[in-house]
Symmetry: C2
Subunit: 264 residues, 2 copies
Amino acid sequence: MKKPVPVYQKIADDLRALILDGSLRPGAQLPTEAALLDQYKVKARATVRQGLNVLINEGLIEPRRPRGYFVVERRRLVYRPQAEFRRRPPETDIFTNLVAEEDGRTPSQDIEVSIVEAPAAIRDRLGLAAGELVAARRRVRKLDGVPYNLNDSYVRLSLVQGTDWMNPGDVARGTNAVLAELLGAELEQALDEIYIRMPLPEEARRLEIGPGVPVGEHIATTFANDNVVQCTINIIPGDRHVIVYDRVRNPEDTGQPRIPWGAQ
Amino acid sequence: MKKPVPVYQKIADDLRALILDGSLRPGAQLPTEAALLDQYKVKARATVRQGLNVLINEGLIEPRRPRGYFVVERRRLVYRPQAEFRRRPPETDIFTNLVAEEDGRTPSQDIEVSIVEAPAAIRDRLGLAAGELVAARRRVRKLDGVPYNLNDSYVRLSLVQGTDWMNPGDVARGTNAVLAELLGAELEQALDEIYIRMPLPEEARRLEIGPGVPVGEHIATTFANDNVVQCTINIIPGDRHVIVYDRVRNPEDTGQPRIPWGAQ
DNA sequence: AAGTGGTCTAGACCACGCA
DNA sequence: GCGTGGTCTAGACCACTTA
C-alpha cells in the first residue's frame, strides 16, 4: 500500500518544510553535508547531495563554497510593461521608469548596438524575409552592478540607420521617441507574449543566475498605425521580478486573439 | 588559463546543443546511460546521470522508465488574462474562452468550493483581518484530461454565501456575472501580478509536471467601483502556456504603480 | 525475461575561501 | 591549513515496463 520514500527525497522534503514554514529564513545556513550524513544515518555523501540538489533546482537554496548551503534571499522589483506607454512622468526609458520606483539603488546599463541577420523569432514578428538585416540594440540592465534583465530590441535597418536609435549610449528622450519622430506617428499599440522557461546557459551566464532560477521571456511587438515597428525580447530572471499589469474593461474589445506568428 | 570542463557538464552541453539545433527533435530518444558511458569513456554511471540531470532540471528531457531518456514535447496554449473582461463573444468563463481558440481538444474542470481562513496573500489583497473567512472556489482545468492550470478564486464570504458563486459546478453565465448581479455593478478593473518560480511539490503533483518545469503564479485582483471584490490565484505551468496581453497607449495613465500590498 | 533507469554504498582526490 | 563542497570511480540491488 505505502511506498517507501527515498532517503534523498526525505531529506529534501524535511529541509523544504523548514524553509517554507520560516524555520530557516532567507540567508540562513543549512546543515553541512557531513551533518546531514549523521542526522539521517546515511552512509554515502552522494545520497545527501542528491537531496540538496533537489532544493537547488527548486531555487530554494544555493551552495556557497566552501562555507556550506544557504537559503536563497530574494528581493523583487516591479516589472511593468505598460510603463512603456505612459506620459506622466515624461516617458523615457522603460527601465529608468521601472527603477524610479525603487529607492537607494543605482541603475546602470551596458548597451551594444549592432547590425545582424534577424533571428527567426524576430523575422516572424517583424514580417521580414529570411536573411534580412535588422538593427539590434542589446542592453544588460543592472542595479547596483547586479544584472536585472536583458533587453534586446530589433527594428528594420532601413528605418533607423544613422539615427539616434543606434547610438550605443543612453538616449535621454527614449528610443521610442526617436522612432516616433522617424515615423511621424506615435507607437500606440503593443502585443506582449510571456514565455516561462528555464534559462539557456548563455542567459544564465549573462544574468548571473544559478540553477533553479526560471526566467520569463517577454516579447513585446510594437505597432504604429497598425504597422509593426519594433520587436523587443526581454529576459527576466524570475527571482528578481514580479510582472505587473493593470487591466480595465474595454467594451470595444472584440476578443479576437491576434498572434499572426506561431507560438514558440 | 582555461579551466577544464567537467565531464558531466560536457555531456550536458553536447546533448543540449543537439536538442537546441534540432538534431534531436521533441520526442526523440537520447542515448541510454550505457551508451553515454561508452561514448564518453567514463566509468561511473553517476557521472553520466549527473549530466542528464542537468538537462532534466532545465526542462529539456525526461526519463521514461524503462525505455530511456527523451526530448520533451511542448505545445503551448494561449493564456490571456484580458479575456476575462471581454464582451464579444458573450463573456463566460475565462477558461472556456481560452479553450474556444483551440480546436480538437476537450476542456473539463474539477471544481471544489469551500469556506476557509484566508491565506496571507489573499488577506493582504482583499484587505481582510487575520483569521477572517472567505469563500474559495478551486478549479483544476484540464484539456483532454491533462491538467492545464490551477485556478483558485477567493471572495468575502458575506458577499456570496448561498449564491450561485458557490455552486460547485459549471456556472454557465460565468461567476463574474454572478458577482456583478450581487454588487449591482460590473467588475471593471483588475491588477495582475505574475511571479515566475519553480512549483511547490504540491503544485507539481496537481499539475502533473516534472522537475525542470517552472510555473507562473498569476494573481488577479478584481475591482468594482474601486472596491476590491475578488482575488484569484492561477498557477500556470510554463511548458504548456504563453501569456498574452494587448497593450494600448492610454493618455490618462498617470503612471502611478499601485501595489498596496508587499510583493511576495 | 531483458533492459532500462532509481537508489545507495564506500571510498578517492581536487579546488577554493577563510582564518 | 582546514573544512567545505565538486567531481569521479566501481560497484550493488531494486522497480518498472515492454516485448
